[in-house]
Amino acid sequence: MGTGFRGRTAATLAVIALAATACTGGGSSAGGSGGGGGGALPRNETLYTTGTQWGPPANYNPLHNWDHATGTKGLVYETLFHFDPNEGKLTPWLAESGSWTGDKTYEMKLRPGITWSDGKPLTAKDVAYSYGLGKIEASSFHTLWSWLSDAKAVDATTVRFTFKQARYQEWDFTLYGQPIVPEHIWSKRAEKEILDGVNDKPVGTGAYTLKSHSQDRVVWQRRDDWWGVKALSMKPAPRYIVDVSNPSNEVVIGQLGQGQLDLSNNFLPGASSLIKSKKVVSYYDKPPYMLSANTAWLVPNTTRKPMNDAAFRRALAASVDTGKIVKGVYGELVKPANPTGLLPQWDKFVDQDLVSREGFSFDTDKAKQILADAGYKDTDGDGLVENKDGSKISLKLAVPTGWTDWMEAAKVIASSAKDAGISITTEFPDANALNETRGKGNFDLVVNNERQLSSTPWTYYEYMFQLPVQKQQNTVNFGRYENEEAWKLVQELGGVKTDDTEGMKKVISKIQAIQLKEMPVIPLWYNGLWAQSTTGSWTNWPSDAAGAPKYAPALWRNWLEMGGFEALTQIKPVK
């Protein structure tokens, strides 16, 4: 082949390469709607965040609360109240006030002067309509209507809710969880569209509107006529928020290092060394570095032998070397859990006397003692105890593959249990496969952190004790633990008014007595509210330092109502 051929080839290839790149440009521009001129966003007005979504933004439907683009609820659609975890109480948001006017009626007054992003005013009818959507059978909050009987707009700003059964604790939870949608737009939609529509032009009352989206990001743009600027004297600092879907931890660490990202709500292995070397900042500058967000539990399947024996579960609890998990696996990014498993934010509900008497701690000898007292003996001399009937105990602990921190923690649990004479092996199935076996009850032991911080510990107790046990346990009581008395107490707690702290404590103390004796689930450690920020473009991140904002710096699903949004109003651009 001569030089002529070579030259031609090179030219052809150059053309192909250019054409291909041009195609790429054309294809991806489909996602952008109304991108401004040159396309670049001003750095000092833009906040780059990641760690809230794991794939392309799926939809902007606030009723699809489990997979809508994060920020759909919180930035665009808002709730009646927010919850302040520091104070432990609800703060009025769209609502100006709300109170129980009778045992089974709740009246809510809206703030005046709130408008939707299309200019129409928010009225009580919108609120009644939004709650009414739960009446659709396939709606995800349909169960609300098993105890709510009516939501009615009394006048332009007042909504009266009447109940079949007043579940005060659950109602608070609903008040800051349920998004309000505009009736004038949604009532024109078919049922299918309401439940599963993409809703790609979301119209909300919130401080942001959807600017554009593509495969790996969503861009939100601030509404300068947002009602909160006047009514709350709050203004979120970033004009644009770019929420990048999280490709991998390595990429996130790289982008943080280059200052491309401002806030990462990912769990980053080795975050403590990043924080120590001042590359990123977090809520605390020393262990545990992060606020606590949820409890990781060791869940035994109580329908199987020997986990059906409370004494065995207590021995198992005492055998787990949580300290080693906290230090060795997490580098002190997490805190060991209280024996009741209640998050630090709920400390006031922990019955300290009871815990000092009945609570467990890591103690291999104690674990051995409990096993011996309960009649578990090592009959074949291999150092591991057998069932009371002499059959071998060999338990499997399953955590999802790829969750490296949990996989390491599982190994620690297995080895420390072995020291106490309990045989546990670890297995790492695919996360979906694990969800399924967990739901159906085909497991020995799993680690789970399903429930997050909320306005009430009631959500944790529902998680532990909910009855009746179904064929498929999707969200709670994976261990299929049955205790009528405990479930009655949980229901009793649900009926205590949320401002009656003493009344709540009384019931909770009774529940904790059962919990510590029975150990239906074993609290391990508190997972952090992972938040790593860089200070190159934005400062004044929430921290425990004097004068710094104390809000939870997380843009996760449902956390925008628990301080995430407020944190956005506190940060300051560097220039």
Partner: protein
Amino acid sequence: MRRYFARKLLIYALTFVVAVTVNWMIPRFMPGDPVAAMVARARVSQPEAVEAMRAYYNDLFGFDEPVWQQYLHFWGALLQGDFGLSIWVFPKPVADVLLDALPYTLGLMIPSVLLSWFVGNWAGALAARRKVLDNTVLPAGYLLTAMPYMWIAVILAWALGSKAGWFPLSGGYSLDIQPTWSTAFAVDLLQHWVLPFLSLFLVALGGWAIGMRNMIIYELESDYSSYLSALGAPQRLIRRYAFRNAVLPQITGLALQLGVLVAGALVTEIVFAYPGLGSLILAAIQNQDFFLLQGAFLFIVIGVLIANFLIDIVYVVVDPRTRTGMAGGQS
């Protein structure tokens, strides 16, 4: 010629039907229940609500029909270009999800596969003639082929991205830019494209070069070369004949490469967080997204068939024996 292509087309059509059928079957035989997973994600625990949602989604995705009806509907929808709704990116149509990713994959794969093929063959052919070149191209080729892809990608990212800072480390385009028809965006896109492209290009290069070098040496030592040489033909002519023979197996190799091209380079897309089909396929498997997986495989099947067809045509052009065969009524 017409008969040759008619027969080829028939074979492709049959292959397509079989491949699509298998493609439809595989996800349905995968363990797991996507609707259960979806309902579980919705955090609904009350049994009545679970049942209502389950029935609703079964109906929406057509899982409540008998299997043969699902199969027929699948073909019906397919012919209208409807791949169904994605479960992972619900409720986006699968076709949209795939088409968003496709340009990135093609933009990355076509240049890297073709360019490495051309450059590799050229370097290999050159090496076969010159001792000095052979002593450099061959070891370099072996080194490139033997290097694990993951490693070369990470080294490139570290050296050219992290240390030198010439190219961005990840993504399809910068975080602060919006896709528009502008020079700024095109430049940004190109910058992000360089590293993944280079890694794929380098890794494939060595194999082609070694293959071509060996083929040329083999051809130069074969009887027809010796005969031509004995007849006194110029060296240049002999080399041209050798090259034309040597390039045929390389074309077959290219056909295979082009076929799987649509699947993208999974590892590349993960290392460089580059948007594309490969990472979609992984996500589809992890999330039990039947429809997305089905759609992605369908793209691959179509890709393989088109690539093979193109290579068939190329064969007719470059290999006179195929043309002779056609004239004789054989293919």
